[in-house]
Amino acid sequence: MSNMYYPPSGVQSDSYKKDMRIIKTKKQAVIAILSLIVLFLVPVIPWINSTYNLRLIIGSGITIIICLGLNILTGYCGQLNIGQSAFVMVGAFTAGLLNYNFSWPLWANIIPAGLAASIAGVIFGAPSVRLKGLYLALTTLAAQIVLTWIALYYISLASAGFIVDPPALGGIVFDTPDKFYYIAMVFTCAMCFFAKGIVRSGIGRAFMAIRDNDIAAEAMGINIFRYKLLAFIICTFYAGVAGALFAHYMMWVQLESFTLIDSIWYVVMIIVGGLGSIEGTIFGVIFIVALKEIIFVVGPMVEGSIAYLPIGAGSGFLLVTIAGVAILFLILEPRGLAHRWKIIKAYYRLWPYGY
């Protein structure tokens, strides 16, 4: 039951175009519109709309953009990338420096930031001609370390950080979380639909063919090198766009925001969420962000209550808890949250005859 795809009852996909629709029934359309409305009402709902919560949601939104790109590269095209935050850094610094030196607004910076990150992505993705799997992952790890070093040495403002203007549209300046929330959500939703579009198209099918068996894909006439590079370009473009958003949202760019640990967390997010699944990316980001939040909230409380253990034991207990939960999760649910979501959907559609 778990591997099968159950369309909503009564939907006949008599043409390919119909089969590829994202929204297939009226009920789905209503749910989509309602959830979009709720999403955009969040800043005015009491209880939820504290600055802290909004910052958390905006951060998750930007992370979702980063992880969408990564999931297209890793989940759909099968190329592991453990240097994603370096490409985010390229985007953030491009946007930040354009703003700092020429005072370009966010709207003009998005595309240059994405392109700059893509160029870096092409340079470090080029070894994928000859390398596969872990070896390719290593060149992306090299991207992380080398790009950070280049920023440290050749951009004099990088380690100290510099100020970036908040985005403005008409007379509104989006300088507080409850205002920036709208920009973040518009971009996150747009990028989600863009990603969904890519993976439904011929490009997406070529990616999946390369992931499943690259030799067979080549035999079918897919130019592997070109599509692998394209996957790198898309992945790093997403990273660059997210970087530009991040720079204008934080109103401050600094080297320390983009570390190897972040890159590893991005990979963890897409694996927990589900490789090769757009919904899974969103689930994974939310799951990991929530887990981290628990650490930040509960950590100091635990630390305060145990005095006889060495300093740092509280955070140690939480690290053990989070990592233990995650390892158990991976052992029991290796195909990610998206798989569980599919099972739930199938259960709902087959109910009450689920056998």
Partner: protein
């Protein structure tokens, strides 16, 4: 010239440490095809165990070394049994993710047992300098290098000439064939994790003698990855030579260019080597066109 020789010596010492840690990467990769991101934290825990015997418990140098090595061997086996064994047959990506979480878990365990502050110093090698005529050498550097060299030689002899080493090399070739020949593959996998932990721990102890016992010891994991790849992920000898190469490059570049340039230089070298010899210098070349 004197500066250069000093850099070469410290590079060789660092390189031997990288080599020992990289052997751990290679062993685990050979047997199970996983890059163990938790290697750095296994090194850390091994070194802390050693410190516990040497410092608070007051054992001598050799007994503490023995206990440190033995317990880290056991520890590696336990880690394999509890976290990686249930995942045999799963995709490589989820196994790698498990090792990433494992590194967090081990860091947590370290924090609970020993706290997050650096521990007090425990001297291992006698300090001092010898005058070699035209320049001075630190005794602890020489001793550390010799010690690492001995451990490496023992490891290579073990792989080449013992039945267990032979079985481990066989498991790297293919699990099914080895099972058909009556080798217990799961046992070999567990033992390879143990040896990986032990080799890394000895490297970590030597490193801790230089930089002190602190959580920063686990960064050796990231720094040693290029060594394993340049040597070729399938060859312990390659890992050791790769470690020495990486150590030399890092030390010389950071001496002449700037302190932070060492690790990036190692990674640039890694990318260049990958472009021309994708499987490293001693790695197994799989004939497969992409």
């Amino acid at each position: 010239m004197e500066v250069f020789l000093q850099l070469v010596i410290s590079g060789l010492v660092n390189g031997s440490i990288y080599g020992l840690v990289a052997v751990g990467f290679v062993l685990i990769y050979k047997c199970s095809g996983v890059l163990n991101f938790a290697q750095g934290n296994m090194v850390l825990i091994g070194a802390y165990i050693f410190w516990t015997f040497k410092g608070p418990l007051g054992f001598g140098l050799l007994p503490s070394l023995f206990f440190g090595a033995a317990l880290s061997f056991l520890f590696g086996m336990i880690v394999e049994r509890l976290s990686l064994r249930p995942l045999v047959g799963q995709s490589i990506l989820s196994m790698i993710t498990v090792t990433i979480f494992l590194s967090l878990l081990l860091e947590g365990v370290t924090c609970i047992m020993w706290g997050s502050n650096p521990l007090s110093k425990a001297d291992i090698f006698p300090k001092g300098t010898i005058n070699l005529g035209f320049f001075n050498v630190m005794i602890d550097n020489i001793l550390a290098f010799c010690f690492a060299l001995i451990v490496m030689t023992v490891l290579i002899l073990f792989f080449q000439y013992t039945r267990l080493g032979l079985a481990m090399r066989g498991v790297a070739e293919g699990h099914q064939i080895m099972q058909a020949l009556g080798i217990r593959v799961k046992k070999i996998l567990t033992i390879s994790w143990g040896i990986a932990g032990m080799a890394g721990t000895i490297g970590g102890i030597i490193l801790a003698d230089k930089i002190g016992f602190g959580l920063g010891l686990s960064h050796i994991g990231i720094a040693a990855i290029p060594a394993a790849f340049i040597g070729g992920l399938e060859s312990p000898l390659g890992a050791i030579l790769g470690g020495l190469i990486i150590g030399l490059v890092e030390s010389i570049v950071s001496g002449y260019v700037g302190n932070a340039a060492g690790t990036p230089a190692a990674y640039v070298l890694l990318v260049i080597v990958m472009l021309f010899r994708p499987y490293g210098f001693f790695g197994l070349e799989r004939i497969e066109r992409v």
